[in-house]
Amino acid sequence: MKVLVIDDSAVMRRIHRNTLTEHGIPASDIFDASDGEAALKIATEGHIGLFLVDWNMPKLDGFQLVKALRATPHYASTPIIMITSEAAKYNVMEAINAGVTNCVVKPTKGDVLWQKLAKYVDPKTGGGA
């Protein structure tokens, strides 16, 4: 399974990438993008099995990206985890209503994030579902 990490922060992309590799996802299966537009391009080029999406990003934000992905039959049910600093309940509800599978509020420890991701990952394929 390929994982696409979308965050405008290079540090956050590094942190998420580390969390994924520490839990057995091969580095070669992890892709990243710094905005929603770039993420959509990558998503159309190859099958992505799991998305980690930031909310606040330039160009196409996380909210718009999720709606665009869900409008694509190929990604209608693919797990999308929103990782956001927007901690208010109405923000979480807005994300879920947009089609986000699960929501994680930053700051979050790598292990806590992984607990949210693990059920979407197939251990038989070394982290791929």
Binding site: D8, A10, V11, N18, M57, S85, P107, K109
Partner: protein, 153 residues
């Protein structure tokens, strides 16, 4: 400017540094900054707009910025690289986003964070309200959270 506008930023900062990053940090007495253009070397800025407008600025010395982003990212930085500045911006983003849930009575939107190095003269503080500085002392160096918010008339 009332304490209820400042406390959410204070709580979010303490949660991030102390609980999440494990930094031995303690807040010192807040004060009104006489010259808001004079901050420490690295400042992460986030603007707030809506029923309450203004700015939250997290200000670090160069060494403190490198130390804290090193802990945050799990990588040791020995120079003030673009990635360190990016990390400062992300820290400010987390603090503002977390604080926002406690400011729900004032429907506000937050801007994407910006980071400046050097002079703080480019910060657009709201006119007519003071800049409140909440200084912090930590094992990784000193920093401050600077807040100036103005209620819409």
């Amino acid at each position: 400017m009332k304490a209820k506008y400042i406390n959410p930023f204070l709580a979010a900062s303490m949660n991030l540094f102390k609980e999440h990053l494990g930094v031995d940090v303690r807040s010192l007495n807040p004060f009104v900054r006489k010259d808001p253009t004079v901050l420490e070397e690295v400042s992460g800025i986030i603007g707030l707009a809506g029923e309450t407008t203004g700015a939250v600025v997290l200000s670090f010395s160069r060494v403190t910025a490198m130390n804290i982003v090193s802990v945050f990212a799990g990588k040791t930085y020995t120079a003030l690289t673009n990635e360190v500045l990016d990390g400062v911006g992300e820290l400010v983003n987390i603090i503002a986003g977390n604080a926002k849930k406690d400011l729900l009575d004032f429907r506000i939107s937050i801007s994407l964070p910006g980071v400046i190095v050097g002079s703080a003269t480019k910060i657009h503080w709201p006119e007519g309200v003071p800049v409140i500085t909440i200084p912090f002392d930590s094992n990784l160096g000193s920093l401050s959270v600077n807040v100036s918010l103005k209620e819409a008339e």
